[in-house]
Amino acid sequence: MDFETSSTGEKGFITVGEDLDSEQSGEALRKAFNKVYDLGLRTIVLDLNGVEIINSYGIGKVLMCYKRLKADNGVLMVKPLKGFVKETFELLMLDKLLPIYDGE
C-alpha cells in the first residue's frame, strides 16, 4: 500500500487513499511522509478525503507527522475534512491543531 505524494513550490502533498485504521495504512502514511520530508519540504498537506474510517492508531500516525514537522519549525495542514473523519478530528480537538489548507 502506497499513498500518492506530490509537491508544489515549498509545499508537499500526501493523498491518503485508504482508511487509516490499521498498521498497514499507518505504515503507508509514514513512508509517504518520509518521502516528502526528505525532499526538505516543511509544509505538508494531508488530503484525507479518501478516508472513511480513522481510528486512534491512524490519528497517532498523523500526530507523529505533526510532531516531526513542529520540531523542525514546519507545519502539517489538512485539506477540508468531511463526514466521520471531520467529526473524529473535532472530538479530539485536532481541528484546533492542524490548520486547514484551502488551496487547490
Binding site: D21, S22, E23, I53, N55, S56, M64, G83, L91
Partner: protein, 302 residues
C-alpha cells in the same frame, strides 16, 4: 423494479372489466395474487392466508372499507392494506389512511403509480420485517468471541453484528462507524496496554529509522507467546434498545478513569488517552470492572 421473492397480494374487487385489468397487471408483474369480491370471502382470505399487502377497493356496494379494515385488524393488527377508491369516496379513503392504511390510490388507476407504490410498500415492509427479526434475535442476545493478541494484533477487527445491523437498516453508517471506532479503541487498549503491557510513553521514543519504541515492542511481544497467547474475551449483548460490548483482557489492570473529565486536561491528551476520549465521546455509557481489565461500552440504538 423487481420484488424478489414475488409478493403475495389480495385484491378485493367485484367482477368487471377493471378486475380484468388488475389481473393482467399483477400477472404481467409476475406477482402472486388472490381475488375476493365480497366482504365475507375477503375477510376469510385475509384471515386464512398470509398477504404482504391487501389492495381494497372501497367502491364495492356491499363492502364498507372501514369495516373491512377494522375486521382484518382484529386478527392481524399489522396487516398492510392499500385503499383504492373513486373521488366520491375520497373522504372515506382519507379516514382509512388515518386508521393505518399504507397508501391510497384514486381511480382511474394509474398502473405505473400502483406498481411503484406496491414495490415501495412491500420493500419497506420487508425491510421492517428484517429489522424486527434481527432485533428479536438480539433481544437478550449474547455472543462471545475468544481470541488472543496474536489473532488480532495487526488487524482492525470489526464485529460482524454491526455489519448485519447496518445492512438491515437498524443503524446508519455514521452510527456503525462510531460504535466500530469505540469498539476498536477499547480492543486496542485491552490488547496493547492489557495483554501486551505496552506503555504509552514508548510512543515518544524513536529508533534511528524513526520507528517508535511502542511499535517495536508491540511487534516483539506479538512474537512472544507469553504475551501473545493471553486470551481476550469479547461479548456483545442487546437489550431494550441498548447494544453493549464488553472486552476482558488478561493484563494487570490499570487505574481506570471514572469519566471523560478525568483525562481531558490539556494538549497532552492528543498524544495519550486519545482512545479513551474517543470511547467516552462516542458511546453513551462506559464502565470499567475487574481492576480495569474489563470495559463495557453501551450505545442506545433504538
Amino acid at each position: 423494479m423487481v420484488l424478489n421473492p414475488s409478493p403475495n397480494l389480495l385484491l378485493i374487487h367485484d367482477s368487471g372489466s377493471l378486475q380484468k385489468d388488475y389481473k393482467e397487471f399483477f400477472s404481467n408483474n409476475g406477482w402472486n395474487f388472490d381475488v375476493a369480491s365480497d366482504f365475507n370471502s375477503a375477510l376469510d382470505a385475509a384471515k386464512n392466508n398470509s398477504y404482504e399487502i391487501i389492495i381494497s377497493d372501497f367502491d364495492l356496494p356491499e363492502l364498507s372499507g372501514q369495516a373491512f379494515m377494522d375486521a382484518v385488524r382484529c386478527s392481524k393488527p399489522n396487516q398492510a392494506i392499500m385503499v383504492v377508491s373513486s373521488a366520491a369516496k375520497a373522504e372515506e379513503a382519507v379516514q382509512a389512511l388515518r386508521s393505518g392504511a399504507v397508501d391510497f390510490l384514486q381511480k382511474p388507476i394509474d398502473y405505473r403509480f400502483l406498481q411503484e407504490t406496491i414495490v415501495r410498500v412491500v420493500s419497506c415492509l420487508r425491510a421492517e420485517e428484517a429489522q424486527y427479526k434481527i432485533l428479536k434475535c438480539l433481544t437478550n442476545y449474547s455472543a462471545i468471541y475468544s481470541c488472543s493478541a496474536k489473532d488480532i494484533g495487526n488487524i482492525a477487527f470489526a464485529l460482524p453484528l454491526l455489519n448485519e445491523m447496518h445492512a438491515a437498516g437498524i443503524i446508519d453508517l455514521n452510527l456503525k462507524l462510531k460504535i466500530t471506532l469505540a469498539f476498536q479503541e477499547a480492543l486496542a487498549n485491552s490488547l496493547e496496554h492489557g495483554n501486551l503491557e505496552l506503555q504509552s510513553a514508548w510512543k515518544d521514543e524513536f529508533d534511528v529509522n524513526g520507528v517508535d519504541k511502542f511499535s517495536n515492542m508491540k511487534a516483539e511481544r506479538l512474537l512472544d507467546t507469553s504475551y501473545s497467547e493471553r486470551p481476550i474475551s469479547i461479548s456483545c449483548s442487546y437489550s431494550e434498545g441498548n447494544l453493549s460490548i464488553s472486552i476482558k483482557d488478561s493484563g494487570k489492570g490499570f487505574d481506570a478513569p471514572r469519566g471523560p473529565l478525568d483525562f481531558i486536561n490539556d494538549g497532552s491528551l492528543l498524544f495519550y488517552g486519545r482512545g479513551l476520549r474517543i470511547i467516552f465521546g462516542t458511546m453513551d455509557r462506559v464502565c470499567y470492572e475487574d481492576n480495569g481489565t474489563k470495559i463495557t461500552v453501551t450505545k442506545k440504538i433504538k
